[in-house]
C-alpha cells in the first residue's frame, strides 16, 4: 500500500475539544490516483499534513509505503518527506526570490540523492517536459505567471522522484485554459512515473481525470463541523 491509515484521530492542541480527523481506515494502493473532494474546513489540509508527516496524529497508524510515520523520529520523518513525498499547493509553491532552477535544486538538497551536475540535467529535462522555456529558468519565481509557477511546482515536487505526490487544490488559482493544461501535464507525469497521487480539490469538474473519486466526508467521520 502507498498509504494505509488506521484509526487516525487528530485535534489541534489549541482546541482540545474539537476533533478534526477521525479516520477508521483508509488505503491507497501503490501507483493509484485518487481524487478527494470536500468543503473547505473539512479537515482537508490537516489530512494532507498528516500524510506528509508534518503532523502526528493523536492516535492511530499512518503508514506510507509500509513505513510508520507516526513512529519515526523527527529527523527521519523530515528525510522521508524529502525523499518520498512530493507536494503541490494552491499557491506559494516556490520561494519567490529564487529562480526556477534554484527552487528545484533547493528541494533536492534536502533529499540529498544526486550530485549537482546530474541533477541540473534532470531539472532542465523536467522543466522542458513541463513547457517552461529556457528563458524563464533564471527569472525569480515571482516574475513567472501563475500557470508557469504551478508547472515549476510540479517539477519541484517531482525532482526527488517521489513515490507519492500530494496535490492540495493546485488548480484553484488557474484560469480554465491553464487548468486543463496543468491537469493533463500532471496526470501524464504521474502515470509515466507510476506515482501514487492524492489530489484534493473542491472542483468536481476535475474528477474525470481520476478512476477513484472519494468524498472527504466519507473518509473523515468528524467532517460535519468546520
Amino acid at each position: 500500500m502507498a498509504i494505509d491509515l488506521l484509526n487516525v484521530r487528530f485535534h489541534y492542541p489549541q482546541q482540545p475539544n474539537h476533533e478534526v480527523l477521525n479516520i477508521p481506515s483508509w488505503t491507497l494502493p501503490v501507483g493509484e490516483q485518487v481524487f478527494i473532494h470536500g468543503p473547505s474546513g473539512g479537515g482537508k489540509s490537516t489530512l494532507l499534513s498528516v500524510l506528509s508527516g508534518l503532523l502526528i496524529p493523536d492516535e492511530g497508524q499512518v503508514s506510507i509505503f509500509g513505513q510508520r510515520l507516526d513512529q519515526m523520529p523527527n529527523r527521519r520523518r523530515n528525510q522521508f518527506r524529502a525523499n518520498h513525498i512530493g507536494y503541490v499547493f494552491q499557491q506559494f509553491n516556490l520561494i519567490p526570490y529564487l529562480n526556477a532552477l534554484d527552487n528545484i535544486q533547493l528541494a533536492s538538497r534536502f533529499a540529498q540523492r544526486k550530485k549537482a551536475p546530474v541533477l541540473l540535467g534532470d531539472i532542465k529535462k523536467l522543466l522542458t517536459d513541463l513547457n517552461i522555456s529556457a528563458s524563464d529558468w533564471h527569472r525569480p519565481a515571482r516574475a513567472l505567471s501563475i500557470g508557469q509557477q504551478q508547472r515549476v511546482a510540479i517539477a519541484r515536487a517531482l525532482i526527488n522522484k517521489p513515490e507519492l505526490l500530494i496535490a492540495d487544490e493546485p488548480t484553484s488559482s488557474l484560469d480554465p485554459f491553464n487548468k486543463e493544461a496543468f491537469m493533463a501535464l500532471l496526470m501524464s507525469m504521474v502515470s509515466e512515473n507510476g506515482i501514487s497521487l492524492v489530489f484534493v480539490s473542491h472542483d468536481l469538474s476535475l474528477s474525470h481525470y481520476f478512476n477513484r473519486v472519494e468524498s472527504l466526508n466519507v473518509i473523515n467521520r468528524c467532517g460535519d463541523s468546520p
Binding site: Y12, S45, F92, I95, P96, Q105, L106, A107, F110
Partner: protein
C-alpha cells in the same frame, strides 16, 4: 545552496536590510575606531620618550612636568637656575644631563632651547636616537634645527631665515624679528612631539631676549648681531632637565636627592611612572568611550534582530514551504542565524573599509593638530579579536529571531 538562499533572501528585503547594515557598519566603525585610536595614542605617548631616566623641573605636579617638558603640552610653571643644573650635572651618579628651555614659538610650533647633547642623548620609541634628515646640528648662536613636521608644514629648506615669537600662542604680536635664525638642519620624522619642535641653542634663546625686560621688547637696542655672537651668552635659568644615570639602580636615590634639594624646590620624575599615572587618568575616558561604542554596537545588533524578527512574519509561506520540501525545523534557526552572520560579516568589511578611508584622510590632521601619529594599519591582533567578538555577539543576539523562526517552522498551517 543554503548560503545562496540566505543571501538571496536578504537581497529580496534590501530596503530594511540595507538600513540595518548601515547601522551595524557605523557601530563597527565607531568601535574599531575608538579601539584603534586608543591603542595608537598609548603607543604614541609611550614611544615619545625612552632612555631618559629622570625629568627634573621646578616643583609642580609630576604629570604637568611630564606634559610640558616632553610633550610640549601646557605651560611651565617656573624655571630652575643654571647653578642647580650644574650641581645636578656634576653628581657622580648622573651620566648626562641635558637642559631644556621652553617658552618661545614659531607659527604655533614650540621652540626648544637646549645643548648639542640633546641630539646625542634624547631617544624615542625603542631607544632610537634622533637623526638628521638634512644638514647638521646647531653650532652658531642663530642656528635652528627643525622637526620634520615643522619643515614640511612651513616649507622650510636649509638656509632659510625665520623669526621666533615670544610666548607660545599661534599668532604672536611680539616677534623677535630683529634677530632671525638660520635653518641648518632638519630632523627625520619620529612620530613624536619632536617633529613639531624647533631646536635652538640656549645661547640663541638668551641672545634674542638680551634686551627684553618683563617679556617686552625695549626700544633703542643697539647691540648688533655680530656683537651678540661674540658675547658670552650664559643662560641664568632653564625650564627642565632630562637626565641619564650611570646605573638604573641609582634612580630612586637620585630622585630623592633632587626632590630634597635645599637651594631650590625641585621635582624629579620617572617618565614611565608619570606616563602610567597619565593612563590611569585617561582610563576613565577611554573606558567610557569604549562603553559607549559597545552600547551603540549592541543597539545595532538589536536593530538587526528586530529586522529579522519582523521578516519572519512576512516569510510564513516560505517557512512552511521549506518544511514541506523536507527542511527540518532547526534549518530555519540556522537560516536566520546565517542571515545575521552575513550582515555582521558585511558590516565588518564595510566598517573596516570606512575606517581605513577615514584614517588616510585624518592622519595628517591628527598629526598636525594633536601630534598624534595614528597608523592606518588597524588590523592588529587586538582589533581582529574585537571583530571576532562583534561577529559572535551579533550571532548571539540573532538567537532571538532564529528561535522565533524555529518556532514558526514547527507550527503547521491548518
Amino acid at each position: 545552496m543554503f548560503a545562496k538562499l540566505a543571501l538571496q533572501s536578504l537581497f529580496d528585503r534590501k530596503g530594511s536590510v540595507v538600513l540595518s547594515l548601515m547601522a551595524m557598519t557605523v557601530s563597527i566603525f565607531v568601535l574599531l575606531g575608538v579601539e584603534h585610536i586608543r591603542h595608537q595614542t598609548k603607543e604614541n605617548f609611550s614611544n615619545t620618550v625612552s632612555g631618559v631616566d629622570l625629568v627634573v623641573g621646578a616643583r609642580t605636579g609630576s604629570l604637568n612636568l611630564l606634559l610640558y617638558s616632553i610633550f610640549r603640552i601646557g605651560a611651565p610653571t617656573n624655571n630652575i637656575s643654571w647653578e642647580t643644573y650644574e650641581a645636578i650635572a656634576s653628581n657622580a651618579k648622573v651620566k648626562w644631563a641635558v637642559p631644556l628651555s621652553l617658552g618661545d614659538s614659531h607659527k604655533g610650533f614650540r621652540v626648544l632651547g637646549t645643548t648639542g647633547d640633546y641630539f646625542d642623548y634624547f631617544s624615542y620609541a625603542n631607544q632610537q636616537h634622533l637623526n638628521l634628515a638634512k644638514g647638521k646640528a646647531f653650532h652658531q648662536v642663530f642656528d635652528v634645527v627643525l622637526g620634520a613636521q615643522v619643515a614640511k608644514k612651513l616649507g622650510y629648506q636649509l638656509g632659510d631665515k625665520l623669526a621666533l615669537a615670544h610666548g607660545i600662542a599661534a599668532t604672536s604680536f611680539s616677534l623677535h624679528d630683529d634677530r632671525p635664525f638660520t635653518v641648518v638642519g632638519i630632523l627625520a620624522p619620529t612620530g613624536t612631539p619632536v617633529d613639531q619642535t624647533l631646536h635652538v641653542s640656549l645661547q640663541g634663546l638668551e641672545a634674542i631676549h638680551i634686551d627684553w625686560q618683563q617679556g617686552v621688547k625695549m626700544p633703542g637696542s643697539t647691540i648688533t648681531q655680530a656683537e651678540l655672537e661674540k658675547a658670552k651668552l650664559q643662560p641664568k635659568s632653564v625650564t627642565a632637565l632630562i637626565l641619564g644615570l650611570e646605573s638604573k639602580m641609582a634612580t630612586f636615590r637620585v630622585q630623592r636627592a633632587i626632590n630634597q634639594y635645599k637651594q631650590e624646590p625641585l621635582l624629579a620624575i620617572l617618565p614611565g611612572v608619570a606616563l602610567s599615572e597619565l593612563w590611569q587618568m585617561m582610563a576613565v575616558i577611554e573606558n567610557t568611550l569604549l562603553l559607549v561604542s559597545a552600547l551603540v554596537f549592541i543597539a545595532a545588533c538589536l536593530g538587526v534582530s528586530a529586522m529579522l524578527l519582523s521578516s519572519i512574519r512576512e516569510r510564513q509561506h516560505e517557512i512552511q514551504l521549506l518544511r514541506v520540501i523536507g527542511a527540518p525545523a532547526y534549518f530555519l534557526f540556522f537560516l536566520i542565524e546565517l542571515e545575521a552572520l552575513f550582515i555582521a560579516l558585511l558590516s565588518c568589511v564595510l566598517g573596516a573599509g570606512l575606517l581605513s578611508v577615514c584614517l588616510v584622510f585624518l592622519q595628517n590632521y591628527l598629526l598636525g593638530h594633536f601630534g598624534l601619529h595614528i597608523g592606518s594599519n588597524f588590523l592588529t591582533g587586538n582589533n581582529l579579536s574585537l571583530m571576532l567578538a562583534v561577529i559572535c555577539a551579533s550571532v548571539l543576539v540573532a538567537i532571538i529571531p532564529a528561535l522565533s523562526g524555529y518556532r514558526q517552522a514547527r507550527i503547521v498551517k491548518r
